[in-house]
Structures are given as C-alpha cells and as structure tokens.
C-alpha cells in the first residue's frame, strides 16, 4: 500500500487557503527560503505521484509548465511526475503524465496499489474529503510565522482525525517550521 501524504503551507491560525496571499506577510520568509526550497525538492524527488483537485490542476497547469529555466525544480518535477486529478467531469487533463480519477473510490484504489508516496497539496476541498474518508496517512505542515485572520483551514470546525504521531520537526532560517505527523493506525 502507498502512503497518501498531505503537504500544506499553513498559517499559525490553521489557514491553508492562499488566496489572501499571506505568504508575503512575513518579509523574512521570502528573503531566506533556500533551506525550505531544498527540503521541498528532496520531498518531490522521493514522491511517486502527485494528486490534486480539478481547480488546483487547472491553476498549476496554467503556470508551471510555462516557467522558463525554473531553478526551484518544481516545473521539472511536475512535468515528469505521475499526476492524478480528481474530477467528476474533466475528460482531458491537458498535461502530460496525467490521469483523471472520478471519485474517492479511485483514490482509495490508487493508494491500495504499489509505488511511492502519493502527495496532495493545495486542493482544499479534496483534502477535506480525504480527511473525512480517512484516506490520509501523513501530514507535512509548513507552519508560516503568520496569523492571517480568516480563510479556509486544513481542519475545519468539527473535523476530527485519528491519533497522530509526530515524525519530525525542523525550523528553517526564514521562520517556517516543518512538522510532520503520521496517522497512528
């Protein structure tokens, strides 16, 4: 069985909705992000699949494949990794190495198979469904030194999750703290 990993940038108040552009609130985060980028590259290299909701894929395919000489490695990773988009309506994902999954049963089947970690990021609605269906195996949370005040959260009110075990925590020079948690099954 594969591990389904939820990777999110998250504020101290638990918000993962980035439409408020809170990444830029702390000037320190942007100024010194080399360490954090290196960890993201390592995590991408170790992953086996990228899973996302329809909107996140539409947003990402309109941006990343068009970045020239991307030094972060994100473009190269996203272009080559096996991508799975969860959508009841999409027919052509319009991105190489992409497969449409119709529903959570398809996601569960993918997770039951063999291969590397299935990483989902952004995709707030999908992540909420994955949590509710108990399909998440691990959380990798990048806590930003920021309180944004409002926005959609990783864990909305009344959401519960099985007991968690902290795997690792590290603080980057830019003030972001990465803490990873595994569902204790």
């Amino acid at each position: 069985m594969r591990q389904l990993v939820v990777t999110q940038n998250i504020t101290l108040d638990g918000v993962i909705d980035m439409t408020e552009d809170w990444i830029t609130i702390s000037g320190q985060v942007d100024a010194d992000s080399a360490e954090q980028s290196a960890v993201l590259r390592d995590q991408a290299a170790a992953s086996g699949a990228f899973l996302a909701g329809r909107q996140t894929v539409v947003d990402m395919r309109g941006y990343w494949p068009h970045v020239q000489d991307d030094e972060t490695g994100v473009t190269a990773h996203l272009n080559q990794v096996d991508k799975y988009v969860v959508s009841a309506t999409m027919t052509d994902p319009q991105w190489q190495h992409s497969t449409v999954l119709r529903d959570l049963d398809d996601v569960a089947a993918l997770r039951e198979g063999e291969g590397g970690d299935i990483v989902v990021t952004g995709s707030i609605s999908l992540v909420h469904q994955l949590i509710a269906a108990d399909l998440v195996d691990e959380y990798r949370l990048f806590f930003y030194p920021t309180v944004v005040g409002h926005g959609r959260r990783l864990f909305e009110g009344t959401t519960t999750a099985p007991p968690l075990r902290r795997l690792d925590t590290r603080a980057f020079a830019n003030g972001v703290v990465l803490s990873t948690y595994q569902i204790a099954r």
Binding site: L12, E20, G27, P145, T146, G149, T160, R166
Partner: protein
C-alpha cells in the same frame, strides 16, 4: 534568535491542538503531560514572579486551591503576584491577588516593569489576544499538541476583528518534546 527571558518579559503559555483549539470541554491536553512537558512548564513558572489571568482561569485555580491544595500549580501561584483581569470581580478571596478592572494593557505593562522576574499569562487566551494585538506580549509561546480535537474555542477565531489579522511574527525559538508536542515561541515582527 532566542526568546526574550528574564525581567521585563511578558510571555504566554498556551496549549493548542493541530486544529487551533485551545480549550474544550474534555481534557484532551492532559494525555501529553509527561515529565518532560511538566518540566518545561515548571521552568516557565520558575522564571516568573507575576502571573496574569482572566477571571475564568482564576476561578478555576481558586477551586483547585479549595479542592486540591497540594497541587504543584498552587505552589507556583502562591509564590507569585497574581493579577486577574475582570470587570465584575471585586473580592478575589485569595490574598496577594490584584484585580485589573480596566486598561489591561497599561496594567500589564506596569506589572512587567515593576516585577523582578517574568510576567506569565496563564492560559487565558483572550488576554493573550489583547496583549498580542496591542504589542504588549513579548513572547507568544504556544505548545502544539499532535491531536485534532474538532470542537472547542480557537486561539485565533475567524474574523475576530480585534487587530489580529495579517500579523507578521518571527520565530524566536522551537523545541520538540518526546510526547510529540512542539513548543514554538514567536515575537511580533512588525514593530
């Protein structure tokens, strides 16, 4: 950056779930109170000479004093100067306790400047929020516990409209405990 320490420092000490909840009806926090976590709490008490709290927290401790007078928390509370923020409490019924009836920010700043050690805000999230918003909290210390509890009061509610939005913080310290708790200390970065 290391956390501010010593006299002249106002510090919070809050326990928060991964979903941002700081208080709930059941006692989900206690499962993580092992020797290591208790030692870190005791170290914060040792540095403090004054404690500030809200009325509800104070009444909880006063009940503890009546029911469990040998609690280690009381050894700490009895040693320090106690300040209770309340507009309704007149007689705290605990010698050495001062009621802060108005202007919390000015009162806490006065405590900070006149006490010999640190000023600790015990629990009391609404006081932490007010001090943080006013720039009167030096160290925002939060212990994040590896649990999702679902319901309960959050430290940072949505649209709270009290100045705590788009707040830029700087990470001053972090510490990892065996129980899975992560202790984070932040300072405001926008001042």
């Amino acid at each position: 950056m290391t956390p501010a320490a010593g006299p002249g420092v106002v510090r919070s000490g809050l326990f928060m779930s991964l979903d941002g909840v700081i208080s709930a009806d059941d006692d989900w926090q206690f499962a993580y109170f092992d020797g290591e976590l208790f030692a870190s709490v005791a170290a914060a008490w040792d540095r403090a000479s004054a404690v500030v709290m809200g009325r509800r927290s104070f009444e909880g401790y006063r009940a503890l004093r009546a029911d469990h007078p040998d609690s280690p928390m009381l050894a700490f509370l009895d040693r320090v100067d106690r300040y209770v923020a309340s507009t309704t409490l007149t007689d705290p019924q605990w010698p050495g306790t001062t009621v802060i009836a108005d202007d919390l920010i000015a009162a806490v700043s006065h405590v900070r400047d006149s006490t010999r050690g640190e000023t600790l805000v015990a629990g009391s999230p609404s006081i932490v929020r007010q001090l943080l918003s006013a720039g009167a909290l030096d160290d925002l210390n939060i212990t994040i516990l590896p649990i999702v509890v679902g319901t309960g009061d959050r430290l940072f509610p949505d649209h709270a409209d009290d100045g705590l939005d788009r707040l830029s913080l700087a990470l001053a310290d972090h510490r990892v405990l065996k129980s899975g708790a992560v202790q984070l200390t932040y300072r405001r970065a926008d001042e």
